[in-house]
């Protein structure tokens, strides 16, 4: 990454924090302006929604240009070798444009340069795909491994050079996809995902890298843990045997393996939650809670308890009771702080949190719509237990 971008990103991190301090009333608007002046940002940036629009429309324009090229040159008739060269040339051109946008025009987190950076990655990966599938004809498994490796290398390079959002996730996913093509792919995931997650977490928490590199490392951490959980998941073990590749023939799984899978599905989330709480690492806590919920949902799906309602009711009451207990514990703790955790907000963006909560309410608690009569005349939709999300019809 260019040194001037590194410096600008570090200053931008302070400016963003200052915005949160001002929102929380911790600094005055005048102080905020002075903080901004002290941490002057020479990059051309935009807000999140404009960034999304710029990214989207740049992709639309590029897709249209690609289609024009294909139509004008009758490119669909080209042999794979020509496509390989053309895609490589396009990747190089897109990379050069990204450099120009980031360097000369100083765009950063603007959307346009990120879209074109991703096009460079996509074209390079496409070239590898055309080469292995069309030119070398090495078969699906080797081609998939090569494409996965290309994704890993290109996305890692894009993450390193440009700090592209999601490039860390793509790099980790590409590496794991390549490993999945090897014989005994599940073991590769189980063996390599933990060290990958460990290395990614160290990078994400190290003070040396720039904020963008830390964020990309965190993405890689999430993907590595998701892969580890998927590799030990009882359903995936039962269906896929040892190999993860789609062409691999499933092997029967014994009781011992199923027990081991269940143990891993419990131990991994438990470790993440416990270590997250002990070391004040929110990503570990959140990921552990999500994995725990996935394990619980799997248990319900596998065991099919009949009736289901006591399980749901008991789980719900347990969670609500736990929330009350935690509330009481936080209120009684000195300074409202328990082992470095607080239940109060810490200069966070309240609007963003509220938007996420509304999305959660929409997904979980909004009642199912009643049936509308399709034609003239009214037909009864029947009663439903709704209003609180329990949309169960009689």
């Amino acid at each position: 990454m260019r040194p001037e971008i590194v410096e600008a990103d570090r200053r931008f991190a302070v400016r963003r924090a200052a915005a949160g301090w001002q929102r929380a009333g911790a600094v005055t608007p005048e102080a905020r302006r002075e903080i901004d002046a002290l941490h002057a940002d020479d990059r051309v940036r935009t807000g999140g929604w404009f960034r999304l629009l710029f990214f989207l429309f740049t992709w639309v324009a590029a897709a249209g240009a690609f289609g024009l090229l294909e139509l004008a040159l009758a490119a669909h008739e080209w042999p794979a070798g020509v496509w390989t060269v053309v895609l490589l040339a396009l990747a190089a051109a897109a990379a050069a444009v990204t450099e120009h946008l980031q360097g000369t025009l100083r765009l950063r987190r603007f959307g346009v340069e990120e879209a074109i950076g991703w096009m460079a990655v996509a074209c390079a990966v496409g070239a590898v795909g055309a080469l292995t599938y069309g030119v070398l004809e090495v078969g699906d498994r080797v081609s998939l491994a090569a494409v996965g490796a290309a994704v890993a290398v290109c996305a890692a390079a894009a993450a390193h050079r440009w700090g592209l959002p999601l490039a860390g996730a793509a790099a980790a996913a590409g590496l794991l996809a390549a490993l999945a093509q090897l014989p005994g792919g599940r073991w590769w995931w189980i063996a390599l995902a933990p060290p990958l997650a460990w290395a990614a977490e160290r990078l994400a928490e190290s003070p040396a890298p720039v904020p963008a590199h830390r964020a990309r490392a965190r993405e890689g951490w999430w993907v590595a843990l998701a892969a580890l959980y998927a590799a030990v998941h009882v359903e995936s073990v039962a269906r896929g045997g040892w190999d993860l590749a789609p062409t691999a023939a499933p092997r029967p799984t014994g009781t011992l393996l199923a027990v081991a899978a269940w143990a891993a599905m419990l131990l991994l989330p438990a470790f993440l939650v416990a270590s997250g709480l002990a070391t004040r690492r929110r990503p570990r806590l959140d990921t552990g809670l999500l994995a725990l919920a996935a394990t619980a949902a799997t248990a319900v799906a596998e065991l099919e308890p009949d009736p289901l309602w006591p399980v749901l009711l008991a789980a719900g009451l347990l969670v609500v009771g736990l929330a009350f207990a935690l509330r009481r514990a936080f209120r009684r703790a000195p300074g409202g702080t328990l082992r470095g955790w607080t239940s109060e907000p810490l200069f966070d963006d309240a609007d963003r949190a509220a938007a996420l909560e509304l999305a959660g309410v929409a997904a979980a608690l909004t009642p199912a719509a009643r049936e509308q009569p399709a034609e003239a005349g009214i037909s009864g939709g029947g009663g439903e237990f709704g209003g609180g999300g329990a949309s169960t019809g009689y």
Partner: protein, 330 residues
Amino acid sequence: MNRALHPEVAAAIPRLVERGLFAEPAARRALAAARGELVSARAELRWGMGTGVALVAAGLGLALARHLDRLGTWGVAALLALAAAACFGAVLRRAPAFTWGRAAESDWIDDGLVLLGLALVGAELAWVETRLAGLGDDWPWHLLIASLAAAAAALRFDSRVAWFLALTTFAAWRGLSLATAGELLFEGREAVLRWNAVAIAALFALLGAILWRSRRKAHFEPTTTLVAAALGLAALFSGMLGEHPGALAWAAALAAAGGAVAAFALRARRFGLFTLAVLAVYAALTRFAWAVLGDDLFLALGCFWLVASAAGTIALLVWVQRRFRREEDA
């Protein structure tokens, strides 16, 4: 290893304190947060409470449905009413006094309790309606009453999630939900749903305007307007799909409504709403381009349209953003 969540911020805070820009004790708290020594679990606690409420509501719904015939009508109704009253009573005890403005920061658990109370009220209404047919033979009025109850709770306890639930439950009463969005957009039963969506969007937009102009719970207005815009634009979008005679009229309405929403959103600095509106206008213009060029020509020239229209949109967005920045600086 020296672990810090935001090392740049942690390094900057002592300098800012020295310059007198950041005062204690907020600076000490911010420094602890930047170093990862103090972490907020508020989001996790709120989400945990919400998950618990959703599980209780689902379990309760299943229990009532399964044991419909064996449960005593009045016993269950009384039990649900008591439980709901206990929830609202617990919140009432702690809630700040009612205000038409934004209430002081409430306990993080209160929103969850309000939602639990509303879930119980919803279950109670459905139960009573089914067992006694007391609210009409044909119509599921409990959704409307549950929506009004949620609105009342939202106003009293200043709960934005309860207000959102009130709006979505009202829409569900008129046959609209996330589940029906697909039908609205892509399936054949859309005519009734579309007009319902347009009517509800207009009603919510009016409600938003009233909240804003009257300065009563004005902070609920953005949520109300966003739901109105999403419903209205989705309904208009669904109308322009396909090749039926009225498609272009719906496209024109979508372009006009999208433009109006975009103008309002820019003035109000609501960029999520602005994004939605820009996408709606772009979709409407693309529909017009398709109509003007015809199927065959659009297939051939579609790429030109994509390049030109997307480049034009980017240029327009750059202009809008610069103008917005200038206004901000001024």
